[in-house]
Point group: C2
Chain length 83, copies 2
């Protein structure tokens, strides 16, 4: 999912017809692509958010998730310096 969110236009072309990608990709799109149930994907996304790898933005009835690039940079640096 994290890799998918790197290129929303390529991995979630369906969303383009309804909304842009300013705030990220909505749960339903990710769920469809993942092939897991709605509840599983929702929980998974919330875990990634709590871990800081993605951010969420509620817009109407949709919740959009997008990557927090800083977290990946930080993780990369952490491995390089502390591990």
């Amino acid at each position: 999912m994290l890799e998918w969110l790197k290129e929303p236009e390529i991995n979630f072309p369906d969303q383009l017809q309804h909304a842009g990608f300013e705030h990220g990709v909505c749960v339903g799109q990710i769920q469809a692509k993942a092939g897991l149930t709605q509840s599983t994907v929702s929980e998974y996304l919330s875990i990634l958010q709590r871990a800081g790898f993605i951010e969420s933005k509620r817009v109407g009835q949709w919740t959009y998730y997008k990557r927090n690039e800083g977290a990946f940079e930080a993780l990369s640096n952490l491995i390089q310096s502390n591990l």
Copy 2:
């Protein structure tokens, strides 16, 4: 354990009296510091080795493990470029 192996002299001073750190630190030393059983530590180390993070060298009845710094560098780069 991976962090411990960064500075063997500091984290495993006992070993200095018996051997150097050229080949790393032996299982017993790591086990004592970890506070886990011998079997658990042995298995853990073999997993880390299979993953490429450490290398082992058998010397007599001892097996010494040391870090493979390249693996950490590679992981850091992987996160930065692919994730």
